[in-house]
Symmetry: none
Subunit: 271 residues, 2 copies
């Protein structure tokens, strides 16, 4: 457990390989110390791709570096984002970690199963990622809605108190353990076409919302958020490929056009 204070430089190829591993996305983390502990947990199991969405106390953080216990290569490679959507733009299979299962139609998995699924998809060239919520209240329903599947930990219901560094540790360990199991027969058979990148999917969801706003669909107004969320969840779950997303964009453009959107095509590229 002793750590060489002079951290050796990471080889470029090694970095590229690690980059191919899961992205760990922390949503609005509050304490630099927790970010550091997350980096340390990741480094133990060979992960390097740490992304922060609006860390409360800004970035860089000396507290994070101190708590990372020489996982400087993870701290130095941190990337900052101002929304979850942009943070996962290149991700093709996204997990949301939650303290306990929520009402949702998304599949809910344990860490081991989720890790095997990530391994199989990663081996098929798909970028995978995991969302971890805020210290105080985790992920919002809208954020969970962005993910393909949900991971929960088999904690004692009478004492469920995992912090984000512990949750990241368990997922990082599970990822590595799943790789060590000489990947026998993965459950996941790579489909002919991989799922669209999240950025493409989110553009479709934004487009649908914009188009529907032209109609009387979002009524009454106080239900709008829930309706949007419902649509986003079901269309995320559908797992559309990039060509399919493109087709659905075309469908929406056809409705836009017919509804008189011809002169306002700029709207489509928003978001």
């Amino acid at each position: 457990m002793a750590q060489d204070p002079d951290h050796r430089p990471v080889e470029p190829t090694e970095t590229a390989t690690a980059r191919a591993g899961p992205a760990v996305v922390l949503v609005e983390p509050q304490l630099g110390e927790n970010i550091g502990m997350v980096a340390r947990a990741m480094a133990n199991f060979g992960l390097i791709d740490l992304r922060l969405v609006n860390p409360r106390d800004g970035w860089p953080s000396e507290k994070a570096r101190a708590a990372a216990s020489s996982a400087d290569h993870v701290i130095d490679a941190v990337r900052l984002y101002d929304s979850v959507e942009t943070a996962v733009a290149d991700v093709m299979y996204l997990l949301a970690t939650t303290a306990r299962p929520r009402d949702s139609y998304k599949p809910v998995r344990g860490p081991e199963t989720a890790a095997r699924e990530m391994r199989a998809r990663s081996a098929a060239g798909q970028k995978v990622g995991m969302l971890f919520g805020r210290e105080r209240y985790g992920l919002s329903n809208a954020e969970v809605g962005l993910a393909d599947e949900i991971v929960t930990f088999p904690v004692d219901p009478a004492f469920a108190s995992l912090n984000i560094a512990q949750a990241v540790l368990l997922m990082s360990y599970s990822w590595r353990a799943a790789g060590a199991e000489d990947a026998t027969v993965p459950r996941f058979a790579a489909p002919e076409a991989p799922p669209a990148e999240k950025a493409d999917l989110y553009r479709l969801l934004d487009h649908l919302e914009t188009s529907l706003s032209r109609t009387g669909y979002f009524h009454p107004p106080e239900k709008r958020d829930a309706m949007v969320q419902n649509l986003r969840t079901m269309l995320t779950k559908a797992g559309f490929t990039e060509p399919e997303v493109r087709t659905l964009r075309g469908v929406l453009r056809a409705f836009d056009y017919e509804m008189g959107e011809r002169g306002r095509s700029g709207r489509e590229s928003t978001g």
Copy 2:
């Protein structure tokens, strides 16, 4: 191995059940905070039997209690020992956790395998336990020698820096996950809503085709069949549930309505 089902009377209390779980033995832990984090890690996964061998700063420890994050039932039940031998006196199967495999003739296992072994022995009435070493240098060779088997974690050799709370977390999680595997009922039953009946789905597909026919989408005409087929295939593959199909019908009705309103004035001129 002789096994006596009446080895000791089992009390019908949760504590007794938890006591039958693995003992976590910390050898000369230095920081109260680490002891507290260990208690918290254990509590998350239903463990309660924490034993300390000569904690450097004495016991009780307010720092430990504070770091335990309300795992008071673990802190309150801590037992103190002045040697590893007395701490594990009642244990029948003892694991030593080490940062990496050592020269030893003992079997070396990963957390999952070790946890399954502990489960099997525990189910057979054997008290099981795990040794965790000092923050600075782990367990001595003599202490490792007391154990039946060795557990190591599949850490990245280039960055092996697990602290004792992290090691305890991984073992506690593995213990619990191994127990859940035993259950015949799957741990995480996805709240699976069944897919819609095909008749509902086909009505949605017909509706989409009808609505799109009002726009310029199906162009040129000779491609219409292929385009329809493409849409049907992707929307079938999505596996929508009945409520989701109903939602999508509502989306189409909203577009229909808006196209009807505007179409009366604009359709002829847009051709």
